[in-house]
C-alpha cells in the first residue's frame, strides 16, 4: 500500500495544472480517491464530517453484490449444462458462467464509466463514483442471452438520460440500473422476456455445447401462462432460470446482511418491501381473480423473480428512495405491494419489481414531503397547546 501511495504521489504532478497529462486529471483523481481516502476537506460552508465517504459506501455495496454475482455465474453454467444434458463438474459450470457473464460486466463498466469520464472532463468536475455500483447491477439484472451491443446502448442511454442530465451522481430521480433494464425491456422485448433468453445456448471456449432453439421459462413466466409451479427449494437456493444475479435468495440474503451490518442500506425499506409483498400476496390469495399467478402462495411470490434482488439492492438505493425514516416504511411497503399487483393483474409483464421501484422512485419526494409536513404541523400543534 505504501509503495502504491508513493507511486501515486510521484506521478501526481503530471496531472496538475500545466502537467503533460492534465487532460486526464479527472481519471487520475477518480482512481486516487478510489484507492485512498482523500485527505482534503471542504473549503466552504458547513459540512457534516463522517469517517466514510461515498466511494467507500459504493465499495461496500459492490462487496455485498459479490455473493449473488458469483452464484449467478454458477447458475448460468448450471442451467446451460442442465438444459443441454451435458455432464459438467462444478468448476466447468462456474467457468462457463464466468465466461458468459464477464463480457457483460466489462461492457457495462466501459460504457458507463467512459461516459462519466467524458462528462467529468467536459464539465471540469471530479469523476463521480455512482457508476461503481450501477455498473455491477446492470449485468446482474439482464437475462444471460442479452446481446452486448444492446447492453451498451441501454447503459449509455441510462447514464446520459437518467443520470447526467439530472446533474450526475446523487441527483438522479430514477435508479440508473433499472432505467437500463426498462430501456432494454421496452426497446428489445424479444431479448428481455419470453422462453428463449434465460439459458445460454452457445458453447464458450469449448465449454458447454451449442444447441439451437433451447427454451426454458422462468417459474413466473410459467405461472403467468400455465399453472403455478409448486414451491421447491431450488427457488430459494436459486437453481432456476432467471436474470443473472436475481435467482438465489440465499446469496442475496448474505448481501443483505453485509449491507445492514455496514449500515449502508436501511432495514426499514428492506423489511417493508417484504411486508408489502407478503400482504398483497395474501390479499390476492384470498380475494384474487381466478388465475394461476393470483393464487401463487405469498412466500413463493417473495422468492421468485427479481423481488429479493430489488428489495435488497434497488429499493434501498439511498439516492432514489425516501430519506425520512417513516417515509421509508411507506415507500418500501408500496414497492412490495405494487410489484405483486403488476405481476398478478397486468397480463403483459410477468415481473413487476422493476416497474414498481421506478414508479415509487417518482413518489419518494412526495412521501418525504408529507412526512416532513406532518412532523411540522404536529410540533406546531404541541407548541400551541403548551402556550
Amino acid at each position: 500500500m505504501k509503495a502504491l501511495r508513493n507511486y501515486l504521489d510521484k506521478i501526481k504532478p503530471n496531472f496538475e495544472e500545466g502537467g503533460k497529462y492534465h487532460a486526464f486529471r479527472s481519471v487520475f483523481e477518480g482512481f486516487e480517491t478510489f484507492l485512498f481516502v482523500p485527505n482534503t476537506t471542504s473549503k466552504t460552508g458547513t459540512h457534516i464530517h463522517d469517517a466514510i465517504d461515498s466511494k467507500r459506501i459504493m465499495s461496500f455495496v459492490v462487496i455485498a453484490l459479490l455473493p449473488a454475482l458469483l452464484f449467478g455465474m454458477y447458475n448460468v453454467g448450471y442451467q446451460h449444462y442442465h438444459a443441454t444434458g451435458v455432464e459438467g463438474s462444478f468448476i466447468q459450470m462456474f467457468g462457463y458462467g464466468f465466461l458468459a457473464v464477464l463480457p457483460k460486466i466489462i461492457v457495462s463498466y466501459v460504457v458507463g464509466l467512459g461516459i462519466e469520464f467524458i462528462v467529468a472532463q467536459w464539465k471540469k468536475e471530479e469523476i463521480q463514483e455512482g457508476f461503481l455500483v450501477s455498473g455491477m447491477l446492470i449485468p446482474m439484472i439482464v437475462p444471460v442471452d442479452c446481446p452486448l451491443w444492446m447492453l451498451a446502448v441501454a447503459t449509455a442511454f441510462s447514464v446520459i438520460f437518467a443520470k447526467e442530465v439530472f446533474g450526475g451522481t446523487g441527483m438522479n430521480i430514477f435508479n440508473p440500473a433499472l432505467i437500463t433494464r426498462a430501456f432494454l425491456f421496452f426497446a428489445y422485448p424479444t431479448k428481455m422476456s419470453g422462453d428463449t433468453v434465460w439459458v445460454s445456448s452457445d458453447s464458450i471456449f469449448g465449454l458447454g455445447k451449442t444447441v439451437d432453439g433451447l427454451t426454458a421459462a422462468t417459474p413466473l413466466g410459467v405461472a403467468k401462462v400455465a399453472e403455478c409451479p409448486a414451491f421447491s427449494w431450488d427457488m430459494v437456493t436459486g437453481l432456476i432460470p432467471g436474470s443473472i444475479g436475481e435467482t438465489s435468495v440465499i446469496a442475496i440474503a448474505i448481501g443483505a446482511v453485509i449491507l445492514l451490518w455496514s449500515g449502508v442500506a436501511s432495514w426499514r425499506t428492506m423489511l417493508s418491501v417484504f411486508v408489502g409483498g407478503a400482504v398483497m400476496g395474501m390479499v390476492f390469495n384470498a380475494f384474487g381473480p381466478d388465475t394461476a399467478i393470483a393464487h401463487m402462495p405469498w412466500y413463493e411470490h417473495l422468492c421468485l423473480g427479481g423481488f429479493c434482488f430489488g428489495a435488497v439492492f434497488m429499493a434501498t438505493d439511498p439516492v432514489t428512495s425516501s430519506r425520512t425514516e417513516n417515509g421509508k416504511f411507506v415507500y418500501g411497503f408500496l414497492i412490495g405491494a405494487m410489484a405483486i399487483i403488476i405481476r398478478v393483474l397486468n397480463p403483459g409483464y410477468p415481473e413487476g419489481m422493476m416497474l414498481a421501484i421506478l414508479l415509487m422512485n417518482i413518489f419518494a419526494p412526495l412521501i418525504d414531503y408529507v412526512v416532513v409536513q406532518n412532523n411540522i404541523s404536529r410540533r406546531a400543534k404541541r407548541a400551541m397547546s403548551n402556550k
Binding site: 451491443w149 444492446m150 428489445y188
Partner: protein, 212 residues
Amino acid sequence: MGSLFSAKNKEVFSTPISMNNPVTVQVLGICSALAVTSKLEPAIVMGLSVTIITAFSNVVISLIRKTIPNRIRIIVQLVVVAALVTIVSELLKAFAYDVSVQLSVYVGLIITNCILMGRLEAFAMANGPWESCLDGLGNGLGYAKILVIVAFIRELLGSGTLLGFNILNYDAIKDAGYVNNGLMLMPPMALIIVACLIWYQRAKHPELQDKE
C-alpha cells in the same frame, strides 16, 4: 409595409424556422409532435397541413382584424381555424385516405394546436396580411421541420424503414444481431428526441439559455 421581401419580412419568415422555433424554443405543439411522429409520412403530411392552415388563418384573421370585436375575437379565430381544418381534413380523406387514417383525430385536433392560436393572437391581430402569411408559413415550417427530424429518427431506428421503404430490415443485418428498437415507436422516445433537439439548439446558441 415596405417591399414584399424586405429584410424585416425575411426575418418574420425565417426566425420561426430556427431561432424562435415554435416547438424547440417556445415548446408549443408538443402533443401532436409526440402522436404523429412514429412514421415519416404522416409527420410530413401533418407538418404541411399545419403550415397551410396557419398561413391561411393568419391571412384571414389579419384581413378582418380591424372589424373583429375584441371581446369575441377568440370565437372568431376558432371559427376561421375550424373551417380551414375541416377543409384540410376533407381533402386528406378524399385524396390521401391512408394517411388520414394514420393521423386519425390529430388532423381535427389542429384546431387546438397552441401554435395556431398563438400566432393569431400574437401576430395576425396586429400585422398586415402579407406579413401574417409569411409568419404563418414560417411557423408552420418550423413545426414541420422538427416533426420530420423526429419522425426520421423514430421510423429509421424503430421500424427500420423510411417512408415505408425498407432500409434496415435485411437478413444480413438481422443475422448480425441487429434488432429494431421498439421503444422508438412509443411516445416517450419522441419526447426524449425533442429534448435532445432543444439541448442541441441551446448548446449552440447560448443566448437561448435561461439566465440564472
